[in-house]
């Protein structure tokens, strides 16, 4: 049973008319993972999740949840997943416990298990004191948590959460993250999407960066960072002297590992900065610096542009835009 991945997609394609929403997505999520789907709006995250939640049929390709093909046996798949859409409504005219009771019944949870389950779930999502409140009286963050609780009523193996933190204030985001962490400790496999990578970074065991319906990078966040570091952006600061700068640029351009050098004038006037895309490891960077100094260039500063997740994300998604343009 260990060998069966909780989520597996192979060459998943979804076409809406001419538009290709998902263009061959391959995902592999093992048991107990929290897997993040990251990408800008319209990247195909929601479509992928809807296919896994059996709400859309893929145009081609295969998708399995715990080994069951989603398009062939949706009912069985639905028993194993809890799905939280990106946009959804709640039944305003029910009380909180009635709402969960309703979904408990929907998933065929026996009546003697429903009442204790509702209590537990409300504790997990921090709505324990709101049991008898009407859903319409809940704040947005509370509704979001209630919707999260509803995905858990049948104790599914997999949670599919589409932008669970969208539209929440920072505090509510933190709360949501805490809940997800708790669910992870309970052994749930979670597939979660966001258009903000850092939001998921500390939470996820794996991430797939998606854009234009394709997986651009997939793996753990450190893997992705490492794979990007070889293609780092160096910031080289030089004494602001036109001739020297031109010479340095020319010198750098002769190195095959260096991309297009960009000049970035420093505000102080004493120094100028070159932004140098460099394809090479840390050793190669040190090598570059030494040979640069040996060549007589007046290097004041030499550093790699800090690659925070935001930047990784922008760069990864930006690359494809260039590729597409090319």
């Amino acid at each position: 049973m260990m060998s069966v991945p909780v989520v597996e997609t192979r060459g998943l394609v979804k076409r809406y008319g001419d538009q290709l929403a998902v263009a061959g997505v391959d995902l592999l999520v093992g048991p107990g993972e929290i897997f993040g789907l990251v990408g800008p709006n319209g990247a195909g995250k929601t479509t992928t999740m809807k296919i896994l939640a059996t709400l859309l049929a893929p145009t081609s390709g295969e998708a399995y949840v715990t080994g069951i093909p989603v398009d062939a046996d949706p009912i069985e798949v639905r028993r194993r997943i809890g799905y939280m859409p990106d946009f959804y409504g709640v039944y305003d005219d029910l009380r909180v416990w009635e709402y969960l009771d309703f979904f408990g019944r929907c998933y065929g949870v026996p009546s003697n298990r429903r009442a204790p389950m509702i209590g537990e779930l409300l504790e997990i999502v921090g709505l324990g004191d709101r049991r008898d409140a009407y859903v319409e009286s809940l704040s947005r963050g509370m509704r979001q948590r209630l919707c999260l609780a509803h995905t858990l009523v049948h104790d599914p193996a997999l949670l599919i959460l589409d932008e669970p933190a969208s539209g929440l204030d920072p505090r509510a985001r933190v709360e949501m993250r805490e809940i997800l962490r708790e669910l992870r400790s309970m052994g749930k496999t979670i597939l979660v999407s966001s258009h903000i990578l850092p939001e998921l970074a500390e939470l996820c065991t794996g991430v797939a960066i998606i854009d234009h319906g394709r997986v651009l990078r997939s793996g753990s966040i450190t893997d992705i960072e490492r794979s990007l570091r070889s293609n780092a952006l160096l910031r080289i600061e030089l004494i602001a002297d036109e001739a020297a700068i031109a010479a340095a640029s020319d010198w750098l351009a002769t190195d095959p590992r260096v991309g297009d050098v960009l000049r970035h004038d420093g505000g102080s006037g004493d120094t100028a900065r070159l932004e140098v895309p460099f394809d090479g490891s840390a050793d190669a960077q040190a090598e570059l610096l030494r040979s640069m100094i040996d060549a007589g260039h007046h290097v004041v500063g030499f550093s790699q542009a800090t690659s925070d997740l935001e930047e990784i994300f922008l760069r990864v998604t930006g690359q494809t835009d260039e590729e597409n343009a090319a």
Binding site: I81, Y91, C106
Partner: protein, 383 residues
């Protein structure tokens, strides 16, 4: 064989139980929201109060005239019974027609938002991503919406039963009236549900529903009348006898059904109240008066012998009259309800997943044989 037979049976039974509990799930949720507080009970009370008021009004208006007619005929025995019977007839007629109009107008109002509202409020995705069958969702919604309408119909029985004190209408007539009202409620409710599943917006669904209901009641009546009128004249303009529009046109007209039931109790021919309705929905529906005696209330619009009479109506009153129109109307509405409910089920399922839901069982077997983990490995019958 026996062993496999029992497993098949138990699987089918458990599938049925699952379906039933899903329907019940929807009903419990909807009823919780709908019947909460006093609103539903106030509406019901008001409705019954209106019915009672109408009954009293009919008594006040018709009673004296009927008594006067009875006095003219001697004022004793048979004449008095006749007067009492007339009051009963009138009450039954007015209540039946009023209730039919109410049912045709209220039932769609309850169902026309059932699915489109879920779409508008974005709750439908949550609902259909549960393992519940779309059929159970649709039927649960229909039954809940109809529950209140059915309550209104059934709760009015005691008021209608007042006519039993006066005579004129029998228990059989009340049963006929109830059966037709319930059938029309289910049919019209299904029409609302279907438009709700078809249309994105509740507003559009409501408009569509009332358009359909109007064209069924008034539209078919007008087409029928016009068609008959044209059919009765050939090119030379001579009136031909017994040419009528296809009678199937009337099978989905709730008023035809109700007038058919009402006409059974009008042994003296159409009353002043109903004669204009017969003009609209077909004069042939009116029963032929037993005698030519004027009852002092509804002398005009005898209906009678000058009209073509293709329907097997016994010319001498209701004694030998067969049930013709109303069962056809009732059955037609039940068929419409079944067809539209099935259509709604398909519309609720997200496009592209429809075939998968049907063939899920077969694929499940295939998946199981490939070694996919299964909670329960069910044979193909579980669909």
């Amino acid at each position: 064989m026996t062993a496999s037979g029992t497993t098949f049976g138990s699987v089918r039974r458990s599938a049925l139980r699952e379906f039933g509990s899903a329907v019940w799930t929807i009903m419990v949720k909807e009823l919780r929201a709908r019947m909460r507080g006093r609103r539903a009970f106030i509406v019901l009370t008001l409705y019954l109060a209106v019915l009672a008021l109408i009954t009293y009004g009919v008594y006040v208006v018709v009673g004296p005239a009927a008594r006067a007619a009875a006095d003219q005929q001697g004022g004793f025995g048979l004449a008095q019974a006749n007067a009492s019977r007339l009051v009963g007839q009138y009450i039954f007629t007015v209540l039946s027609i009023f209730q039919m109009i109410m049912v045709a107008m209220i039932a769609p109002a309850f169902t026309a938002g059932q699915i489109s509202l879920e779409r508008e409020k974005q709750t439908l995705d949550l609902l259909i991503s549960t393992p519940m069958r779309p059929g159970a969702i649709v039927i649960g919604k229909l039954l809940t919406a109809l529950a209140f309408v059915i309550l209104m119909i059934v709760a009015a029985i005691p008021i209608t039963a007042i006519v039993l004190m006066y005579g004129g209408a029998s228990v059989d007539d009340i049963i006929r009236q109830q059966v037709l009202l319930l059938a029309v409620a289910v049919g019209v409710g299904a029409i609302g549900l279907f438009s709700s599943a078809l249309m994105r917006r509740t507003q559009a669904a409501t408009v569509l529903t009332y358009c359909i209901v109007l064209s069924l009641t008034l539209g078919t009546a007008m087409v029928f009348a016009f068609w008959t009128e044209v059919a009765q004249q050939d090119q030379t303009g001579f009136v031909q006898e017994r040419e009528q529009a296809p009678e199937q046109l009337r099978y989905l007209n709730p008023m035809v059904g109700m007038l058919d039931i009402v006409s059974r109790v009008e042994v003296d021919g159409p009353t002043r109240f109903t004669s204009s309705l017969y003009e609209l929905f077909g004069r042939d529906l009116a029963s032929t008066p037993v005698s030519f005696a004027c009852d002092g209330i509804g002398c005009e619009g005898f209906g009678g012998f000058d009209q073509p009479m293709p329907v097997p109506v016994d010319a001498f009153g209701q004694a030998g009259r067969t049930d013709y129109w109303w069962p056809r109307v009732a059955i037609s509405f039940l068929i419409v309800a079944a067809v539209l409910t099935l259509a709604s089920m398909r519309l609720v399922v997200p496009a592209g997943m429809r075939w998968a839901l049907r063939r899920g069982g077969a694929r499940r077997m295939a998946a199981a044989s490939l070694g996919a983990p299964m909670i329960e490995e069910l044979p193909e019958t579980e669909r």
